[in-house]
Symmetry: none
Subunit: 206 residues, 4 copies
DNA sequence: TATGAATGAGGCTTCATTCAT
DNA sequence: TATGAATGAAGCCTCATTCAT
């Protein structure tokens, strides 16, 4: 029942919500059309098949997420600063765009999304690898298997976002983000670079 | 096409594989029956509905996983030792029972599994919370939001298992496990308890 | 195999025939579709469920029957004339629309038809009660339990229709109708109002 | 869950109840077995098929009904007395054996019961025809189409039983029976044989 | 561009019946 | 006689997709 000058956009927005709420197979195209306020046939004018719809959605969301997460990274001086900003970006975007976050997690490894879209999606997050490698060169990140570090970092962020989403107040949220980033950095950091606190308001603490 | 004296068991085993390969809605009950080598009606003799089947499966797998992960924990002296053993148990079980691991991750938050089964599954992992709290009392684990620590720990293990599963050789695997456990422990540990290496072969290192 | 501009109408007509021939459960929706010359899905486009189909049919037939039976009643001078016309209407409609008649009898008390449809159907025959009460006020119908009179009248008409339907010639039919209406009227009439013959061709008799 | 030394008898009794409550197709054989307290296979030991079960039941009930209805008829002096007794027998049996009555009505013209069983059932009611013919010979019953008279009589009894079953008190019941039998007799009787009241307690009235 | 009636393959589930024990 | 696990045909219904308008 949305009103929008662009029906395609409305369809994508509606599909995102429904896919997250009910899953891929749990969401009939007829329902998407109805909730988007268009006829059943219209969906198939814009998207060849249902899979084409989710594929398009996946690419779009993944691109938006990557864009949001690496925003401002180039202005940071070193790997640690970059990583902390990346973390904050990730948490901010993940909590603000809850549906898109869930959508990405749901369909990251699902067979509904085409392999090419999966690959395209992954490629947008290669900057994470660059960041890790930069830290290793700097000597601030442990010189161990980079694949492991990326996996651990990504999954930790994912856990952090989930926890933050469940937080009650804004201040609790801030505390948890700081603690979570500590966790990640301490996991990544070379010996002499560990610290205990990266939360904003506690800067200067021992 | 399996041969087993117990048809119910065969159905569960077959369903596990297919659900992981193809998802819940992507797996027709007729396919499960066929691959299990029984008639279509037989599935519904043992399980009232398709949801009953996945529910039973979920409870079973979750119970098995919990049992495997907390094995031997009581013999360890302190929280750190327990956590490291837990990590090794988790990685061992997760890589050995790859399908079951994926199954748990897939259906942990999915609407196909009944809420009661979800709760029952979660309850089996409460020992993780106990472990964290024990460490905090000991002073070896940081005294911060336990919910966060549990989320971070669990998601980190999940990332670690994924990376280990992709490893080539047995020795590479061992190295990565040690490094991954370092990551987790350094994330959890209080300041004075951090170390750099928990991999088996490096015991005795500083 | 019917040809009609309206598929919904064709489905209803086909379903009526098949339900009478084979009963509700004896008639697969697939057969209705096939005989109606439409795809299986089309039936469910027009009717949400099989029960919705029979429900719609029931309402429609019941309404048509009631309408046919009370046709012209208001032009008759007294209860007796009305009742005889009602009887002739009933027999005429019942023999002409044999299938619809059987359908009504079959499904009047069956659980396939929703309670609301049953009630709606019944409400259309309340004019019978009015008629009986009018006769009682006039003094031409025995002043006894009206519920009984309605039941007896209705079941007698039903028996009459069945007998007439089995009749061979048109003239035999006419004779039987007259005799049957005598039966009913003599059953209903107050003492001084009985007569022996209400058949058309005997008009003018005492 | 009945206990009976004869399982076949228990199955028949259970099936009668369930068929009336839920119809033929609405009653799975598995339910009959369960409610009768026997295994699924046992039903098929006693009855070759489900249709064989209902067929047996139909014959049995029909025979019992006919036997009950013509009881004592031979001791009555004339057709009218016989008919009134028949009516009372019918009402008595029909209200006392409500389930069996409904069963007979439900399955009288249904395709579940074999044609031979239908015929056998009908043949047991031929005494009605004899009774009508006797009355015609006597001159007490109108000399018109006997088929019509039988149909009208039978359907009237059916209506009467339905009304009596809905009656509240025993005395109301008695009144209605008397009035109903009046209706029937007045419908059947030759001119000079009509009367107004056949209810027991009003004998001797004008 | 947009519509929505129409399609028909395919999914889940039921249930009469069999048969080894 | 009696059991109940096992069978598989068949039923109701959903839904992605098409196409005439």
């Amino acid at each position: 029942m949305e009103v929008s000058k662009d029906k395609q956009e409305t369809l994508l927005k509606t599909a995102l919500r429904l896919f997250v709420e009910r899953g891929f197979y749990g969401t009939p195209t007829s329902l998407i059309s109805k909730e988007a306020g268009v006829a059943t046939g219209t969906l198939f004018f814009y998207f060849k098949t249902k899979e084409d719809l989710i594929d398009t959605l996946y690419r779009q969301v993944k691109a938006e997420a990557a864009e949001a997460m690496c925003r401002g990274l180039d202005n940071e001086p070193d790997a640690k600063a970059k990583l902390l900003l990346l973390g904050r970006n990730a948490v901010a975007w993940g909590t603000e765009h809850h549906e898109k976050m869930k959508f990405m997690e749901f369909f990251a490894h699902s067979p509904f999304v085409s392999t090419t879209a999966q690959k395209e999606g992954m490629s947008r997050f290669l900057f994470m690898q660059d960041l890790i490698e930069e830290g290793i060169r700097e000597g601030t990140i442990r010189d161990i298997d980079t694949g492991l570090l990326i996996f651990m970092m990504a999954s930790s962020f994912s856990g952090l976002i989930a926890r933050v989403a469940a937080a009650g107040s804004e201040s609790e949220r801030e505390t948890i983000i700081g603690q979570g980033l500590d966790f990640v950095w301490n996991g990544l950091a070379a010996d002499n670079d560990k610290e205990q606190n990266n939360s904003k308001r506690s800067k200067g603490k021992t």
